[in-house]
Symmetry: C2
Amino acid sequence: MKSPIPDATVARLPLYLRCLSELRSPDEHCSSDDLAAAAGVNSAQVRKDFSYLGSYGTRGVGYGIDDLAAQLRKVLGLDTKNPVMIIGAGNLGSALANYKGIDTWGFDIVSIVDIDEAKIGEEVDGLTVESIDNIATIVAARSIDIGVIAVPARAAQDVADRFVDAGITSILNFAPTVIHAPVGVTIRRVDIAVSLGILAYHKAEEERRA
Amino acid sequence: MKSPIPDATVARLPLYLRCLSELRSPDEHCSSDDLAAAAGVNSAQVRKDFSYLGSYGTRGVGYGIDDLAAQLRKVLGLDTKNPVMIIGAGNLGSALANYKGIDTWGFDIVSIVDIDEAKIGEEVDGLTVESIDNIATIVAARSIDIGVIAVPARAAQDVADRFVDAGITSILNFAPTVIHAPVGVTIRRVDIAVSLGILAYHKAEEERRA
């Protein structure tokens, strides 16, 4: 079995893909320095990360932008469609449904559900809000892989349990709380307070040094 | 000068704070195992991370929950108010303005601005949307520390430049693009496609192994 790629590298791969899609180069090649500058890491890190993919570039020429992007998409499983369901049709869920820049990566939001009777039937970015009671049927019928939690913290664990019961094994959690799921279910958290907390640290550190 | 805390540890500190606020314990102590389970890391990592803070807990007793939370808040600069401005009063900006769970951490959204005349004057979670043309004045008057970019990708760099011109040195970017800023400005990215990409990798890896 091929050894898995370290988590820290995995976390940088989609970022490299983002940067590659924005790099413009006359000869369609880029150096590890170009990518490092775009991604905000150092170039030794870039070369090490790509070595896990078996990509070493060519000395004096660099990496072929299209080849590298195709390889990243393949490793990341973005070479096929990934149908996504959002739970929560409030401001955040609606913002996510409208969020441009994920569709080009093969993520396809195919359902948005809510518990609130008043929201069911509303239109959000071309989707009709459906009832949370039907999630098992919807997930099976539309081969949904990924569930996004866009509900308040107090409802998040219940929603996660419903995703798991419906057979979803990849969950992206926007609720500001830690949720738990059985082994075999991958959870990523987008915790805005955590991101703000990291910014606050750097600011505080600057003040402590001054 | 005290050596700075490694970035990977800094990134976990707000997560520990989040977990501590949710831990319930009869004697108001928790072990590194408790915290590790809540945060989804291993307990050796927890102990190592806290060693950077000079917190070692007490053998057989663990860490005092309140003490540790207070220490984390201090290190992270969350023991004072951090006024925040959001640029972009669309779905995402509105969702962020309404987002509960950041106010308890001392983040205080004091302004939301937009470029769109039609949005200026609207109410969002008790705030009146202001014009982006006034950001320098607003930032100075309300001592704003942190700027949040909630605009489409094509407008993100321009908005970042305006933040920097207005004197903001901490930026949280939700736009799906890489933005650049001068040395001395800290940028954190919340790239939803990147988070989804990491989930897709784990799913693809599972399928490759099966």
